[in-house]
């Protein structure tokens, strides 16, 4: 590990108000189109003026998630004219000089206040919202630094905020780590979702998912439905069972909005539902078609299937009456 001091006062780097940091281009149709195409977003309010007007806008708007794209410096890392010459993240340079050589982006939270419209010129102002105590993580010893950027349009109306957190650290020494030798650095395998185990008790369920149906195990002794599957009926102990096909209708019995830790390959926040099917059994699934702020227990939900990874289909539920 690099030599680092144990107690460092970084309070001088806290706060501040830097900016403006301006955009190279106004919010424009070609960049929006490229973005939507890359992201697979077919929402017409991003490309069709009539649809946008119907939705209450003056003309097309940009996807809120494009936020950072407008103010990026580009590949030559040059700031657009009119930008503050100071580095908004100068605390990182300072830490670098103290021996914390490595950096990793931890997370980014964006809050959208209004849609940027075509022709808007966006800029942002930056402050360092927090610097942690020195922390020891699996990566090394260092500091979590959070930058709060507030984005405005040319009328100085706030458009969005973004909290960007990085970990600036001195890496642990890895005695076992060999320098990357012949063949170059090896590419880690892509992280995928756990594939559920298909054994004699559970295969019928996953074969149903493959075939686009949700199956519920039924006791042939007493007709009781059960989930998760098991080889015996807890009601009558019969070992004989078959299954029925669920209608796909249900209600949301409970739910979790998962934020941390951000385990690959899931997107966060991740909405996970406990659905009570109209047949009476419950199962855990993912929830779509609803903003996390609008999720309510008791909402009617409808089954659908999605290929979450190539060759891997999963059931999920859509909130009825959502988008």
């Amino acid at each position: 590990m690099s030599k680092v001091e144990a107690h460092i006062d970084l309070s001088a780097y806290l706060g501040g108000d830097r900016g403006p940091y301006t955009s190279w281009d106004p919010v424009n149709r070609p960049m929006i189109r490229h973005w939507c195409e890359a992201m697979g977003d077919d929402n017409p309010i991003y490309r069709d003026d009539a649809a946008a007007r119907e939705a209450g806008f003056d003309g097309i708007v940009a996807p809120p998630t494009m936020l950072q794209a407008w103010t990026m410096r580009g590949i030559r890392e040059q700031r657009p004219p009119g930008s503050d010459a100071r580095d908004p993240f100068e605390v990182l340079t300072a830490l670098e000089n103290m021996g914390y050589k490595a950096v990793v982006a931890v997370n980014c939270e964006q809050e959208y206040l209004r849609y940027p419209g075509e022709g808007d010129r966006l800029y942002y102002r930056s402050t360092i919202e927090s610097i942690s105590e020195q922390k020891r993580t699996a990566l090394g010893v260092g500091f979590f630094v959070t930058e709060l950027s507030t984005y405005f349009n040319q009328r100085d109306e706030a458009v969005a905020t973004m909290r960007f957190r990085v970990f600036k650290f001195a890496p642990h020494e890895r005695p076992g780590a060999a320098p990357s030798g012949e063949g170059g650095p090896s590419r880690p395998a892509a992280v995928t979702r756990m594939r559920p185990v298909r054994n004699r008790d559970t295969a019928f369920f996953w074969e149903g998912v493959d075939a686009g149906e949700l199956r519920i195990q039924r006791c042939q002794g007493c007709q009781t439905l059960r989930h998760p599957p098991a080889p015996a009926c807890p009601e009558c102990q019969s070992l004989d069972w078959d299954h029925i096909r669920a209608s796909g209708r249900g209600v949301l019995y409970s739910f979790v909005t998962m934020h941390y830790p951000e385990i690959p390959p899931f997107d966060y926040p991740n909405l996970i539902a406990l659905v009570e099917l109209e047949e009476g059994t419950r199962l855990v699934s993912n929830l779509v078609g609803v903003s996390r702020r609008d999720v309510r227990i008791g909402m009617p939900v409808q089954l659908e299937f999605s290929e979450v990874e190539p060759g891997f289909r999963l059931h999920r539920f859509r909130v009825l009456g959502g988008d």
Binding site: M258, H259, Y260, I263, R282, V284, L314
Partner: protein
């Protein structure tokens, strides 16, 4: 109930006579085996028992340290009894019950209970991973109902219950905060606690970041490195030892009502803890005590929401009314039932609940740092959301 003779065989027949622990940290810098040796030798010294007399060992299935290795290293001679309890932190009180049964029946004379772990610097339970690689193991198959959707951590599993609890009762997420504030207030005056001198406010709880909604960071206990050990022997032998004994008035394990490990989502109701109801009934019957006889409670607090139904299952308040109990501050310092006066796992350390049993012993001895005045009986519970266990301890 038929066969309910445990009260005759076990009540007041065994005692915890020694406690020991390492420091609680985020990075112990030594192996779990070493932590175990240190805690056990300290507990034996506290009890005034010769390590050579230890003839029984009991711990959790999740503990990585073999009974035989620790017994060998502390200078043990031979073992007549060794046992483990399953289901994670649900084991916290169970090894004490097993030890009490062993010494009450003469199967063993001196049983050491231990839990030693580098849970923070080593394998962390909250990062979302399988406990076994065996694809045919029951738990691997069972996780197949949750992992593909990303429901992979203890906080997330408990959040599913907590959301429903908020829906069906008058409780709010601020009531979860009241549990955290109470624990951290006690920890603030406990020099052994990781969060010594660091109390929190309800506002700080509300402003802490989401982990698994409706759980925030300050609803989750810490992750710790450390070890705790206890020495259990018969009430008879306890009379001649150094410390005043903490008698086992009642002990029980519990599982019930479509029980699953962390994911009992298929019960008719998700707002109670039926497995803790089993423990409560057994403890009260075995001890002959009632809720009004308990002056302090060590309630398992890996996550704040499950403290509420524990108060209900043990009859400290009506079902669904734990929020009122918390709003009136009964769980706080000076309240009618101080909860986790050591600071709990939220404030002191997460040693899988065994540090809570050690605190219960200190409360019975009258030597706790946040001593509850006039204490006669203290309740201790183990992990919630899993098959669990519990104890009532009292003075001789």
């Amino acid at each position: 109930m038929s066969g309910a003779t445990g009260d005759k065989l076990l009540r007041d027949r065994a005692a915890i006579v020694g406690i020991g622990a390492t420091e609680f940290s985020k990075h112990s810098g030594r192996t779990e085996i070493q932590l175990g040796v240190e805690a056990i030798l300290q507990a034996l010294a506290d009890a005034g028992v010769d390590p050579a007399d230890v003839d029984g060992m009991a711990t959790y299935t999740m503990d990585n340290n073999p009974e035989i290795e620790l017994h060998r290293l502390i200078g043990g001679r031979s073992l007549r009894f060794f046992s483990r309890a399953h289901y994670g932190g649900g084991a916290a009180c169970a090894p004490v019950m097993h030890a009490a049964m062993a010494v009450a029946t003469g199967v063993a004379d001196v049983v050491v209970v231990y839990r030693a772990m580098n849970e923070r610097s080593g394998f962390r339970f909250g990062q979302g991973g399988l406990l076994t690689e065996d694809p045919n193991a029951f738990e691997t198959v069972d996780f197949g109902w949750y992992f593909p959707q990303g429901l992979m951590t203890p906080a997330a599993w408990i959040a599913m219950f907590a959301q429903r609890y908020l829906h069906e009762t008058d409780a709010t997420d601020e009531d979860f905060g009241r549990v955290a504030v109470g624990g951290r207030d006690f920890a603030a005056t406990n020099p052994r606690a990781w969060f010594h001198r660091q109390p929190i406010t309800l506002e700080e709880h509300r402003d802490s970041r989401w982990i698994a909604e409706p759980l925030r960071l300050l609803d989750c206990c810490q992750e710790s490195d450390g070890a705790v050990a206890l020495v259990v022997t018969s009430a008879e032998r306890a009379r001649d030892l150094k410390q005043p004994p903490a008698l086992v008035r009642g002990a029980s394990q519990g599982a019930a009502d479509q029980q699953r490990m962390m994911t009992s989502f298929y019960r008719r109701s998700l707002t109670g803890l039926p497995e803790m109801g089993v423990v409560a009934d057994n403890l009260y019957r075995m001890s002959g005590l009632a809720p009004a006889d308990i002056q302090a409670a060590i309630l398992y607090d890996h996550f704040t929401p499950f403290v509420l139904p524990q108060l209900e299952e043990f009859g400290f308040c009506e079902r669904g009314a734990a929020c009122e109990f918390l709003r009136e501050g009964h769980h706080m310092r000076g309240g009618k039932l101080p909860v986790n006066p050591h600071g709990g796992q939220l404030g002191e350390a997460y040693i899988h609940g065994l540090n809570g049993v050690a605190e219960a012993v200190r409360q019975v001895r009258g030597e706790a740092v946040n001593q509850v005045a006039g204490l006669e009986h203290v309740l201790v519970t183990a992990g919630t959301g899993v098959p669990t266990s519990g104890l009532i301890l009292g003075a001789a």
